[in-house]
């Protein structure tokens, strides 16, 4: 059965690239998603992911379909928005969520204006927004995604301890070390790298799906940080592979396919997850009644 399901897609090198790319993406996007969730920053991830679009669009103008220029454009725009949004919140009276929502909308609008003015065709625009149909990916994209994963994992390993402490007890961390601010910026950088990877694999609108949804899934299964990262990476990988195969067979773009599989896992976790899942609450509720 598995043989049959995999034989045809694995015969296509472009599909093989996609499958390896989701493996790489799961390894680094999952821990980033977990930290976003633990810092109650999931919406920040969403906002910055859309902010990447105008940068990618400018990269596209400058270098055509060159993956490298689009990647650089995306990274620059993502970092700029992450910093600018924080700055505006601090300097004015606006709440951070409202400020991020504004950035999200403006960047999306600006990005689409830039790409359409320059005569992008509708099919290519769909690829930008939702990822390529039939799970195809060039070797060049795979290399960029793998490089981003490598950099992310090394960077996260370096700032792991201050990052955890900054989440739990930021004032204590500031009293023992200046590393907190640095850890925060490294984390934002890693976030942007993974959002750019997510964009390449799944499109700009849903690239963040493989980061946020698996993190939310993991919360229903384990309690400790390393467990959250492991469960999250595992569910990202399962959703990524299954979603890409679904995209291959049904011609649905990769972004929605992968995100929907992750969504199905999320629903199952909400019901069956041993940590606060509905089923257990119901069962223990009955227990108390008896």
């Amino acid at each position: 059965m598995l043989n049959y399901v995999l034989a045809e897609p694995l015969g296509d090198p472009d599909v093989r690239h996609s499958l390896v790319a989701v493996l790489a993406l799961s390894l680094s996007a999952a821990p980033v998603g977990v930290f976003l969730m633990l810092r109650r920053m999931s919406l920040v991830g969403d906002a910055v992911s859309h902010a990447i679009l105008p940068g990618v669009a400018v990269g596209f103008l400058a270098g055509g379909l060159s993956i490298i220029t689009m990647t650089i454009g995306g990274i620059v725009a993502g970092i700029a928005v992450a910093l600018l949004s924080g700055l505006i919140t601090r300097m004015t009276e606006i709440q951070e969520d409202a400020s991020l929502a504004v950035f999200l909308l403006l960047s999306l609008a600006l990005g689409i204006v830039i790409v359409t003015i320059n005569g992008i065709d509708a099919a290519r625009l769909m690829d930008f927004l939702f990822g390529e149909a039939e799970a195809k990916m060039s070797a060049e994209k795979l290399l960029v995604i793998a490089a981003n994963t490598t950099i992310s994992l090394v960077a996260l390993a370096l700032v792991y301890r201050p990052l955890v402490l900054e989440c739990v007890d930021p004032h204590f961390l500031r009293s023992v070390s200046p590393a907190g601010g640095m850890a925060h910026f490294v984390f934002l950088g890693v976030l942007v790298l993974n959002l750019v990877s997510g964009f390449h694999a799944l499109g700009t609108l849903l690239g963040v799906g493989i980061m946020i949804v698996p993190a939310a899934i993991s919360r229903f299964w384990v309690r400790d940080v390393s467990g959250l990262v492991a469960v999250s990476a595992g569910s990202a990988l399962v959703s990524g592979i299954a979603g890409m195969l679904m995209s291959f067979y049904t011609h649905v773009p990769a972004g929605p396919a992968v995100t929907l599989v992750a969504g199905a896992l999320y629903c199952a976790s909400v019901v069956f997850g041993p940590v606060g899942g509905l089923l257990w609450r119901w069962v223990s509720g009955r227990h108390l009644e008896a």
Binding site: L38, V159, V164, D169, H171, F172, R174, S175, S177, D224
Partner: protein
Amino acid sequence: MAAQIEFNNLTLGYERHPAVHHLNGVIEEGALLAVVGPNGAGKSTLFKGIVGSIKPLAGAIALGGVSRREIAYMPQVAEIDRSFPITVYDMIAMGLWRRAGAFGSVGGKLHEKIEEAIASVGLTGFESRAIGGLSGGQFQRMLFARLLLQDARIVVLDEPFNAVDSKTVEELLGLIHRWHSEKRTILAALHDIGLVRENFPQTLLLAREPVAWGETGAVLTAANLRKARQMCEAFDEEAQECVETRAA
């Protein structure tokens, strides 16, 4: 006794809104000082200034030869994310930050020290629990174990007895008195006036500005406490007016 902490016309605050004004004075080495004042009096802000978590808007804090990183600081519980999935052991081990830093391993000898600290606050057996599962008293015991590991010359405690049962207060006060006998300098923000009178020889009564500072008995008079409350309220009203005039 040498001066351990010296405030020099210190003004502290957030976003250019000052919370502590014009504080001058000296805390001597080995002092056991309570910082008392109404809510919003600037106690937490003062402590954050001392440990370097926020920078003075004006004036300065001198630390008598001790580096800021050598102060053991216990933030208010409300400033800690208790839902974060970290174990009691890991949280306490962070007290070794100066030795282990961001990368150093925490094994062997350090592990023994951690277990020792856990035992001396009576939390043995709780090591692998998540911090979210602790009661108020157990949580404070955990924070005290972390302070023990920091082994610092200056200890700064922000509301160490909030939501803590009386038995735990007794035991933790024992630790504070032990530190005092070891000639460490201790500052604690506290609400319970009776507890301050019994245990803290010196008190700073703060209401954004210092109201009184000295021997506890002379500071905590009814007149001074009333004055502190009025000053805080007056300040809030004044601040209100400022905002309104600016809007108009």
